[in-house]
């Protein structure tokens, strides 16, 4: 396969893979209240870098879907919009987390089986 096509394909698949994970990570992080910038910093500190132009619109979308609640509040003499997981969001987050764990465990089992076959 052409290297350019391969790179493009990898980027596309990587984006697809990350998309769902990012939502899960954002929901997980917003069990504690954050505004956009601190949320991005908190995720980056955990090793998950997200572009601002991706994260901030994502917050709006999740709020529109009822998974987050937000409020404008003054902090350090500046108005900021703080987001937090809503009750419905917490419920869906639990289900998504269970789904994620299930997929993760299956993938680990598959990879472990593969590794054992190779070593035999």
């Amino acid at each position: 396969m052409n290297i350019a096509i391969q790179t493009e394909l990898f980027d596309s698949l990587r984006l697809e893979l990350r998309r769902g994970c990012l939502v899960l990570a954002v929901l997980a992080q917003l069990r504690v209240e954050h505004y956009g910038y601190t949320l991005r910093k908190a995720l980056a500190d955990q090793g998950l870098e997200i572009e601002e132009s991706t994260l901030y619109p994502l917050l709006r979308r999740l709020e529109t879907q009822g998974l987050l609640t937000s409020e404008w509040r003054e902090e350090e003499k500046r108005n900021k919009r703080f987001y937090r997981l809503s009750a419905a969001g917490a419920e869906i987050f639990e289900k998504l987390l269970a789904e994620w764990n299930g997929i993760n465990e299956s993938l680990h089992r598959i990879l472990k089986d593969e590794k054992e076959r190779v070593t035999l």
């Binding site: 505004y35 910038y37 979308r61 500046r78």
Partner: protein
Amino acid sequence: MNLLERYLQAVGQYLPVKGKDDTLAELRANLMAEIESREEELGRPLNEAETSSVLAQHGRPVIVASRYLPQQSLIGPGLFPLYWFTLIKSFPLVVLAYTVAQVANLIFGGGSAGIGAAIGHFPYVAFTFWGVVTLGFAVFEFAQGRFFEPIKWSQPWDPRELKDLTPEPKGKSFASRVADLIVSVLMIGWLLAVPNHPYLVLGPGASLNRLSLGLTPDWHVFYWQIIGLLVLMLPVKATALFVAEKWRKGLDLTAQAIGILVLVVLVQARSYLVPLRDGSNMPSLANLAQVNYSVNLGFKIVLAVCVVKFLWDIWEAITGSRRNAAGFVGVF
């Protein structure tokens, strides 16, 4: 900060009025926090180049704004497979309908524009078809969920309700091909006998001289063309008896094409019967013209049917070979 305000103004140009101020206020707060964080790291205010770098990293205004817009699609992923299926399945019917209409126009309407113009006009027809189907699906996409319940593909269904397997069409049998070849040979023999025995065309009345009709002089012009084409058809049909099945379809189509050429020659003749000079029972010229017109019209109708059948068989051959290549067996 002038640069930040200019950036926000540029983003705002692409945002809808509703919620625009709110979005820009949030964006300002986040970008200010980012800038202040950098300033804290450096221990001094950012200069214009450094502020510019923060904004450039955030993204082009049009891209940033587009991510705040509601996710919209003309035809969504739920409806798209149905839309695509409709286009693919309907397109051959559009081609067929257009071909029939154009052939009918050429034959009956005396279409002066010709075949080239008919083919040249087809892209407009195809584009209109695509536009109408796309518009229909876009309207449906817009309306579903707003005016009626959206289609739910996850609803239970029963695979046992799928239609039975379509049996694979059988080709002509060997006996049928032999009979066809014999008939073709007999037809050539019959045609070769016609110049010496006109009654073979005009009936017994010709020999009794009751009819004051004769064949048009044009007959001698196209007669040999027809004989030539029919003779050419014989080796094609004979070869089809002995070759592998995969080549037979091509030979059958070749024979069909030659048959169409025969009809084209006949249609071009326009006049077939003329009054004899010394005939005592000469029919009126008006009646004879009507007879010639009717015979010509008959050939035109047969030609139109044969052309449509020929195009349909070509389509079948193409789609059939694709199915076989893909490993399908008579599923569609």
